[in-house]
């Protein structure tokens, strides 16, 4: 049972206004993941205050970095259920958690930030981890 859209909309907007593409259906996810070239990132957004509340600004900060994934998208846990299920299918056998962040290179999952690595952390700290990965994975892919 999803939340009222008016409650979730600002949480969606926080990422989409930063240039993150929203994937709302399983077909959207498949289309996004069909391009195996280069680097991609999927953020599993969530209404959770203590984890996603830090993850979204952390992602936004990280996206200011010179190196970043070629394609960036988000699915919303608990809201766009089919899209989230489909996205998790691309995370191999990583246990489901939200919020979480998956980074792919040439279609392969190369880095995963699970919920437990987000909860209780400041956005700056989350951004720091992501930019480190961007510099390592995305810059090298150019």
């Amino acid at each position: 049972m999803p939340y009222p859209e008016e409650l979730v909309a600002p949480m969606r907007k926080e990422l989409t206004t930063a240039g993150v593409k929203e994937l709302k259906t399983a077909a959207d996810v498949d289309a996004f993941m069909a391009d195996k070239s280069g680097t991609a990132m999927i953020i599993v957004n969530s209404v959770c205050g203590c984890a996603a509340g830090g993850a979204r600004p952390g992602v936004k900060m990280a996206l200011q970095n010179a190196s970043k994934p070629d394609r960036i998208a988000t699915v919303f846990a608990g809201q766009d259920v089919d899209a989230v299920k489909q996205a998790r299918g691309y995370f191999a056998d990583v246990p489901p958690s939200s919020p979480s962040i998956a980074i792919f290179k040439d279609g392969e999952l190369v880095h995963f930030v699970p919920r437990h690595a987000i909860e209780g952390r400041a956005p700056q700290s989350i951004a720091q981890e992501l930019t480190k990965v961007f510099d390592s994975v995305c810059a090298a892919a150019k």
Partner: protein, 232 residues
Amino acid sequence: MGTFHQDKSELHGITVVVDTNGPKVYVGRCDDMDDEKVILLDVDVHEDGQNGRSKQQYVERAAKFGVWKKHDRVILPRAEVSSVKRLGEMHSQLGAVATATAVAEPPKKADPKPVPAPVAAKPADGEVVALTANAQAEVKRLLALEKPGAGLRLGVKGGGCSGLSYKLEFDQKKEGDLVIAYEGFSVFLDRKSTIYLRGVTLDHQKGLQGKGFVFHNPNATNTCGCGESFSV
């Protein structure tokens, strides 16, 4: 104090590794801990040497990818606990670089000795919420003590670690309320909250390991460590 719950421990809502003096190590979200016990939610447990992995090897894998939960709730006597650490700290130390071939294993089968979840009544067809016998008795006791003539208001409000929080208070009936009559008192729900509370059972747990009033929500896709907030 917990992130959103001032009456909880500092690690409330945080995924932790609880090592024991014995062969077992637990990973789960800390609900609460004090001098007597550690309460974990959404828990996985590993025994030293299980699947050819030491406790440390298991924890390192858990720190990278998370765990597949085997138990909803586990209560560990503090005397058996040797340490409680944030799993996220270990994730940072490890760098957490995942590869498609080095991922966590999906669950095979549940541990044979799970801590049983409390048995709760379910709402009958057509009913929005149900109260167990324990919950009814406690509500009646508290109403008689604190607010004779009032009823029990159940509701939902925004906020909490998992998005929505349960509301439970003694109140008078308001216009538009859905009223559920129990012997000796009534339960009031505002119309908006009924959307989120449909199918919910309210229980009351007593004793050392109990946690007072507990909501069992079959629609919740995620619950906060304390069980006081949820998402659907």
